[in-house]
């Protein structure tokens, strides 16, 4: 039986970073979102979040599968799915309530309509039903339903991926290819809408993340091709950065050959275009080299807020989404002034960090209380 693995700090750190990015990117026109990854290439924080979610799912449940068997592990995973679902529904209610509150407080009933929760006004009863079925998701509430679907399938993926990670990658890639070719998607509400993040396509990021966790140090055979892979990754990132910057500067844009444009566009997000996925893999490869698991810099105090946010990812994701809406309201109230964008961004991240520290403090308290309890069973965990 394997010894308890060291906690990979990188997972928390980069998940925290992804959560900050998601918050910043969800405030439209936010100048601070220039700091986020999406402006320098094809992929954005969603890929980071989903990949790390797949990776940590294996870390969290594979030992349990080993020691306690499949039924208990599956039950544990579904308990987590349930937590995600509850969090999503709570977020949906809080999100809608915030819009209602703002429009009542500012005496602008038009806001409810303007921020129309896409159908909640037309047919509230139906919309609530569809929200419970995850088919009705107001703007920005698309990530958690994706995660719920992926994790709900995970009890069936887990036993396969720990034994045959390559086979899982193969099946996952095949489903991804078929989905983008045949335009499969899950139904949404109102009718004919589809999932903004198509789970049938985005599963590829999650499952490649899961397989990488199974490989663990087994990935070191890739280091034989280290030079080539690094060169390829850097070249691809530079290409992506050039294209991304060309969207902001027309003289650069005119330098993009027509045949290149013909090949790359559109860079679909719903079905995660292959360019987005490759871009993420290139980043992941370079991060793996630049930040090894035992890098001393990982222990620096300055990263602690990021790590704390990453550790409490579900809580921080919900708070971030909620605050992004508040931020949107505030920023638009100040007519998109840059100062308001900066203040809202800093405040929002500060609130997320405070919440994360409180969550960590709370958890420590629980752990301490648990350790004070008399040991009733002889089986050490």
């Amino acid at each position: 039986m394997a010894a308890a693995p060291v906690r990979d700090i990188r997972l928390d750190l980069f998940r925290g970073l992804a959560l900050w990015f998601i918050f910043l990117d969800h405030i439209p026109t936010n100048i601070v979102s220039w700091l986020t990854v999406r402006n320098y290439g094809f992929s954005d924080a969603t890929e980071i979040f989903v990949f790390i979610s797949g990776y940590t799912a294996v870390i969290a449940y594979s030992r349990m599968l080993d020691q306690e068997g499949w039924p208990r592990t599956a039950a544990r995973i579904y308990r987590r799915v349930w937590q995600l679902y509850v969090a999503h529904i709570l977020l949906f209610v809080a999100f809608s309530a915030q819009i209602a509150w703002v429009s009542i407080a500012r005496d602008t009933p038009a806001l409810i309509e303007e921020m129309q929760l896409l159908g909640l006004g037309d047919n509230p009863y139906r919309a609530i039903l569809e929200a419970a079925l995850l088919k009705f998701r107001p703007v920005n509430l698309d990530v958690l339903p994706l995660y719920i679907v992926l994790l709900a399938a995970f009890p069936f993926v887990l036993p396969a991926v720990v034994r045959w990670p390559w086979a899982v990658i193969g099946v996952s890639l095949a489903l991804y290819a078929a989905t983008s070719r045949l335009n499969w998607n899950l139904p949404a509400y109102p009718d004919e809408k589809v999932w903004y993040f198509n789970p049938l396509a985005w599963q590829v990021v999650f499952h490649v993340g899961a397989a990488c966790a199974v490989f663990g140090t087994g990935l070191s055979w890739l280091d034989r091709f280290r030079g080539t892979l690094t060169a390829l990754a850097i070249a691809f990132l530079l290409f992506a950065a050039f294209i991304a910057l060309s969207w902001h500067y027309n003289p650069l844009e005119r330098l993009v050959p027509v045949w290149v444009a013909r090949v790359i566009y559109p860079i679909d997000k719903t079905n995660i275009d292959i360019l987005r996925f490759l871009h993420f893999l290139a980043i992941a490869w370079l991060v793996r080299l630049a930040v090894p698991i035992d890098a001393p810099a990982l222990k620096w105090r300055i990263w602690e807020p990021l790590r704390r946010c990453g550790e409490a990812s579900l809580l921080i994701f919900c708070i971030g989404t909620f605050l992004a809406l508040s931020g949107q309201v505030v920023v638009s109230h100040y007519e998109d002034s840059i100062l308001s964008q900066i203040v809202v961004s800093i405040l929002g991240i500060a609130i997320m960090c405070v919440a994360a520290y409180i969550a960590a403090w709370f958890k420590r308290g629980n752990a301490r209380a648990a350790s004070r309890l008399p040991v009733t069973t002889g089986v050490p965990r």
Binding site: H26, P28, T29, I31, R38, F42, D44, E113, E114, M115, Q116, L118, V139, N140, N183, E192, K193, V194, Y196, A244, S246, W247, H248, Y249, N250, E253, V258, A261, R262, I264, Y265, P266, I267, D268, K269, D273, Q328, E335, D336, S337, I338, L339, I342
Partner: protein, 246 residues
Amino acid sequence: MRRTIALLVAVLTLATGGAAHAKSMTLCRAKPEVLALGTTLPISRKAIAERKLLRIIALGSSTTAGYGVSNPAFAYPTQLRIGLEKALPGIDIEVINRGIGGQDVEEMAARMRTEMEDNPASLVIWQTGTNAAIRHMPLEKFDKTLRDGLKLGTSLGADFILMNLQYVPAVVAVADKEAYEKVMAGAAKDYSAGLFRRYDIMRGWYDDGMPYAQFVQLDGLHLNDFGQKCIGRLLTRSIVDALKAP
């Protein structure tokens, strides 16, 4: 510490001083001649004069559905309703959004009858062409399907406005995008439909030095918040001008 804060405040004040913020709607412009629809919208005029009511169906694909905008109300159909309500006080304005992402001219022509019978409207805005162009639908087929749709639609008693392709990287990269545009212009003319020249309007933005990031989502295909709002505003202006023309 205090000095750092003072410095920070100074920098922020400077930054906000020059805050000609990026997505300002003052950038939303078009030359008057590209806004002319080439129709007088007789059926809509009659509905406004006799019933104080203008009901519009926005038939289209992802632009109409508002794919990827940060607030569904930014999609051009809602913007059009808000704009028309302001421009035509006392008139009941209804805009029914029938945009379905990914649909092509064929699928829209096929649902034309049900859409119009479900919601009898005086004006149909038919946004199409982009998906046909990027999927390289044969031009003759595009032409025929479009004309069949227009023939059916106009026979059901509504004014029509065709909204043509968007000027975005994914469309610009298509070799014969202008051919699709021409087909739409020809069909509009033959069926006395209006033509909302989105392609030329947006090309004007680009030629004026506006970067794609200002009006296109990062996928290089869909209009972003600014693009949608501006198209909604310009379409409102086109329609109001057409209604008020002698």
